[in-house]
């Protein structure tokens, strides 16, 4: 297409047809003020402040919505333009309260900046127009309609970026405002408190409530959100060594949206409950100690155990919340100093099955794709996942793909998840029957000849085994098992197979089931059958939880994988690390998270290090885990808070939070990004990497590092696909097949289809425990809650009792109604909860949102012996419900 040429402020410029005057002007370094315009939002052309004059015909044009045309002679600052601009602004200010001096938006207010620029004086009065402030209970954001200029940035942000649609215009003329449905307070609306509207509001009409600091903030440090594995970039605004505000980061690729945890949940770092000095056990309690003493005690105890009982009696449970550098160090320390492979990280609690599934199919424990690829998909299957609560940025991406990109969405889940509203098809399989559904979909795709035959022939293995396993398989049996009609199954299979770019997003509902490994493989079967894999816009995303779940695995903080997703039992891989570390590595298969606890119970493991995890609260049957950990000869805990696990320790070392150290996190899409030190650690806290280095030295086995930078150097040397900071570790594209450019791990073999075994009839219902209880992620809570529950704002918004959601028919049968207090009883424990009737749950299924730390949901679950079974044990259990006379104040 031919470029359009015109002049702007006497300068000849040209741009592609369709470009707006504003875009071209900005590209050419000419500033035009704007208010309602925002690069990420659809054009509105409402405020007219961006007005420019076309001197060719004297027209005044809103530059943000007017396309360039040949021959235009644009003047962006003619006297006429300036006069109009001033008038527009004066009109806005006329209905604006004169409270700029005390407005918390301060210098960030674009209205005020503009007034200064155009030389319009503000009448400096300090009256606050209280009347317009909407009284709301939420601790996150506050609305003041009197400062609203109706630019609709909030409305568009909410509808287009996070696609929640909590706000829209309400009313006409002078009475117009941005309102929620029924003009309800935000807490009773669809609002998720993501803070995007606050970040985009140009005035003080939308602001964070209870700001920790009033006024303009001097410095901002770019970092990464410490909560979930979406890996949002955040900007930590610092004043007087405190993080006073968190705003969306400046990462160019990132849409300016976070979720409530990123926007408002980072206040845990200044919690008064932070540990600040090393503690050594003394009787039932702890005494404060110097670092030197605490490290010496720990080193001696660990050395003693290794000497007397052997290295295999030691274990290290590390954290998916620690940095890559730290995880790398943890595993190197465990393998070369403790000399055992008994190491794991918290993400294995739900992800172990998926790692095995991936490993067996593609040869790597994980596969990643850029999150942005979702926008390219034309069909998305979301199965066993509720990204709205567990991975908000993925949720926004899916919503945008559907509403803006026109993608079709199939949601498969027994529950009504947050994405149900957007789904074109909703399949609700009976709990635990996904495998039957996936097997049936594969059968339909093959039966109807919808496979990508060339892809299968050239790039996969084991197709025959899959075909054989499907012989005699009947669609009707799958329909009967799942409760989904054969027609619906066929329809879903066709949609996926005939899509141009089909994406699959799966979550804990798939990974955490008894046959989780097979379920993951069954999903991979579908992708391999249709070629929707390693293809832009087509791929499989596993929703990980913690901010560095991906990185912890990539760094080899797994019992049977070395750094770089390398198999521990693969001799060439092992040799490379042995050469670098100048030692021989232990080869005995390591114990993973679940086995460690069982081994501790049996007395096989005698000493443990737990860094940044809280197994005593997070593992099933917590009482048993507590006993096991309490019975160790020595337990060393590194943490920022006094968790249940820390309470059992012999030595506790106070760690630095993410805002107090350097390092990198790898998001679920494989992007490796830096966190940066924004404030000093409180008290004597030290970063985990430093603590482990000092511990290694105290054990007379110093490791050759003194900074995260040096550790990163070694990571880059040994893991090719981590060579580039900010790089995307992804396996897409054909290059992968020929082991291509450096950053992509070479494929050792072609991915293999998996024969999916026969479907077992569902277990006979146990009349004593007639209900299936599902654990559910919630937006305001992360992991076992050690951080989110200590975030003043997040914790205030979580109810102080725990809820159990129940189908209305079930409730009626038990003569219960919303608000009643009940006891939930499983074979392993009991929990008090408040009933909340929920029309969307199937009968016989209860759903319990994970919430505060004092509601140990895990107590209900039974503890498995096997590693793969661990994750399933934390998702689902059988319970009965009894009316309780209790006051519902929490766990019994």
């Amino acid at each position: 297409m031919q470029a359009v040429t015109l002049t702007i402020n006497q300068q000849e410029v040209s741009g592609p047809p369709g470009q707006t005057i504003l875009e071209l002007a900005r590209e050419s370094g000419i500033a035009i003020p704007t208010l309602c315009h925002h690069a990420l939002l659809s054009p509105l052309g409402g405020c007219r402040i961006c007005i420019v004059e076309n001197e060719a015909n004297g027209a005044l044009l809103a530059s943000c919505v007017t396309a360039i045309a040949p021959g235009m002679i644009i003047n962006t600052r003619s006297p006429r333009v300036q006069e109009h601009r001033r008038m527009i602004l004066k009109m806005m200010l006329a209905s604006h309260p004169d409270s700029c001096l005390v407005c918390d938006k301060g210098n960030r207010c674009e209205l005020r900046q503009l007034a200064a620029e155009l030389g319009i004086g503000l009448i400096e009065l300090d009256r606050i127009p209280q009347a317009a402030v909407t009284e709301e209970l939420n601790p996150f954001l506050v609305r003041d309609g009197s400062k609203c200029i109706l630019c609709a940035r909030c409305i568009r942000a909410c509808q287009e970026l996070v696609v929640v649609g909590a706000l829209d215009y309400f009313g006409r003329g002078f009475k117009t405002k941005a309102a929620t449905l029924f003009q309800a307070p935000l807490e009773n609306s669809a609002c998720t408190f993501c803070g995007t509207c606050v970040a985009l509001c140009p005035t003080g009409a939308l602001m964070e409530k209870e700001p920790l600091y009033r006024g303009s903030v001097g410095s901002a440090v770019e970092s990464i959100c410490p909560y979930c594995s979406c890996g949002c970039s955040i900007s930590l605004e610092v004043k007087d060594n405190r993080v006073v505000r968190v705003m969306p980061g400046k990462d160019p690729g990132a849409p300016e949206s976070l979720c409530v945890k990123g926007s408002y949940g980072c206040d845990f770092i200044h919690s008064p409950e932070r540990l600040t000095v090393p503690l050594i056990r003394e009787g039932e309690g702890f005494r404060e100690a110097s670092w030197k003493e605490a490290l010496a005690v720990a080193a001696a105890a660990l050395q003693g155990i290794r000497k007397d009982q052997g290295a295999e009696s030691l274990a290290f449970f590390g954290s998916a919340n620690c940095t890559n550098e730290e995880n790398y160090l943890f595993q190197r320390f465990t393998r070369t100093v403790l000399r055992t492979n008994n190491l794991d990280n918290g993400s294995s609690l739900y992800y172990a099955a998926a790692r095995r599934g991936f490993h067996e199919v593609v040869g790597f424990p994980t596969v990643t794709y850029p999150l942005g690829d979702l926008a390219l998909a034309d069909l998305i299957i979301v199965i066993g996942a509720d990204p709205t609560a567990s991975a908000p940025l993925v949720d926004y991406g899916i919503r945008r793909a559907v509403t803006a990109g026109g993608a079709k969405l199939i949601v498969i889940d027994p529950r009504e998840t947050g994405l149900a509203f957007f789904a074109h098809r909703r399949l609700q399989p009976a709990v635990g029957t996904d495998l039957a559904l996936l097997k049936a979909m594969a059968a339909v795709i093959i039966e109807e000849n919808l496979t990508d035959r060339e892809f299968i022939a050239r790039k996969t293995e084991n197709y025959r085994a899959l075909l054989r396993s499907l012989e005699g398989f009947s669609l009707e049996s799958a329909a009967a098992a799942t409760g989904i009609s054969a027609a619906q199954i066929v329809d879903a299979a066709r949609l996926y197979a005939t899509a141009d770019k089909g994406a699959i997003v799966f979550g804990t509902g798939i990974m955490q089931q008894a046959r989780g490994v097979e379920a993951v493989k069954a999903l991979l079967n579908l992708a391999l059958l249709t070629g929707h894999i390693w293809r832009e816009g087509g791929g499989i995303w596993a929703l990980l939880r913690e901010c560095n779940a991906q990185g912890a695995g990539d760094m080899g903080m797994l019992p049977n994988f070395l750094p770089g997703r390398q198999d521990l039992q693969d001799p060439p891989a092992r040799e490379r690390f042995e050469a670098r570390w100048r030692c021989t590595l232990p080869t005995a298969p390591g114990k993973g998270a679940a086995e460690m606890i069982t081994a501790a119970e049996k007395g096989e493991i005698r000493g443990m290090i737990v860094a940044g995890e809280n197994p005593a609260a997070a593992f099933p049957r917590s009482s048993r885990v507590k006993e096991a950990l309490g019975g160790l000869d020595f337990l060393l805990v590194l943490d920022i808070f006094m968790t249940d696990t820390a309470g059992l320790a012999d030595v506790i070392l106070p760690a630095a939070s993410f805002a107090e150290k350097e390092g990198a996190f790898t998001g679920l899409d494989g992007r490796v990004r830096q966190i940066r030190r924004a404030v000093d650690p409180p008290g004597e806290c030290r970063p985990d990497w430093q603590i482990i280095l000092e511990l290694a030295a105290a054990m007379d086995h110093p490791l050759p590092f003194s900074s995260p930078g040096q550790i990163r150097k070694e990571i880059e040397d040994l893991i090719p696909f981590y060579r580039d900071e900010g790089s995307e570790v992804n396996l897409e594209g054909d290059a992968f097949w020929e082991s291509g450019p450096d950053r992509k791990p070479p494929l050792k073999r072609f991915p293999a289809f998996t024969a999916i075994g026969d479907l077992l009839p569902p277990p006979a219902p146990n009349p004593d425990y007639p209900f299936i209880l599902l654990a559910e992620s919630t937006l305001f809570h992360a992991g076992s809650g050690s951080r989110s529950a200590r975030s003043p704002r997040l914790s205030r918004f979580t109810p102080h009792y725990c809820f159990v959601k129940m189908n209305r028919a079930d409730a009626r049968r038990l003569a219960l109604q919303s608000g009643d207090v009940v006891a939930i009883i499983s074979e392993n424990g009991r929990l008090t909860a408040v009933v909340s009737c929920d029309g969307a749950l199937p009968e016989g299924v209860l759903s319990l949102p994970r919430s505060r730390i004092d509601h140990p949901l895990a107590a209900l679950f039974s503890s498995p012996v096997e590693e793969d079974a661990l994750s399933s044990a934390l998702k689902k259990c059988y319970v009965r419900i009894e009316r309780s006379g209790n006051d519902g104040s929490g766990a019994s």
Partner: protein
């Protein structure tokens, strides 16, 4: 149609929506109009149902309804009084007439009587300034209003005005 009936059944609502859905999301306004025609007003409770069916955010459906003065989210009286507040009527005592009507019906401007007989509105000028002060009930104009006429014109329950 039974004009007393202000509660629309869920199934009837869904029927109307189904008919319109075939025309895509831009059918929103005709859809809302039809609901209002049939029901007399748009019960806010139907907003989420419409939103779900048309896949439009409920807040956006509400935004559209709130934009048009002719769309009502509250029940309307069987009869609409439109009292003139134009200049001519004002100087000839229109304000007193308004006060009297408000007192008699025990409602404010924009409100509807509890028995759903009357909705009271004011308008800028009815265009019959010669008859000031004036008002309309449904389609019928009443000119040269005085306090006595207010009592005579506002009917007791059961008596009908000329229909709207």
């Amino acid at each position: 149609m039974d004009r007393e009936h202000h509660e629309m059944s869920r199934s009837r609502l869904e029927e109307i929506i189904e008919e319109h859905c075939r025309r895509g999301r831009w059918a929103l306004i005709p859809l809302i109009q039809e609901i209002q025609e049939e029901n007399g007003y748009i019960d806010p409770a139907v907003i989420p149902v419409i939103a779900e069916k048309l896949k439009i955010f409920p807040s956006a459906v509400q935004g559209v309804i709130s934009f048009y003065a002719q769309l009502y989210t509250e029940p309307r009286g069987r009869n609409t009084i439109r009292l003139c507040r134009g200049t001519a009527c004002h100087v000839r005592g229109g304000k007193t007439i308004l006060k009297l009507i408000k007192e008699r019906l025990d409602i404010e401007e924009g409100e509807t009587t509890a028995d759903l007989e009357y909705t009271l509105e004011t308008v800028a000028c009815l265009g019959v300034c010669a008859l000031a002060p004036s008002m309309m009930i449904n389609q019928q104009v009443f000119g040269r209003m005085n306090p006595k006429k207010v009592g005579q014109i506002l009917k007791r329950k059961g008596e009908d005005h000329e229909p709207a």
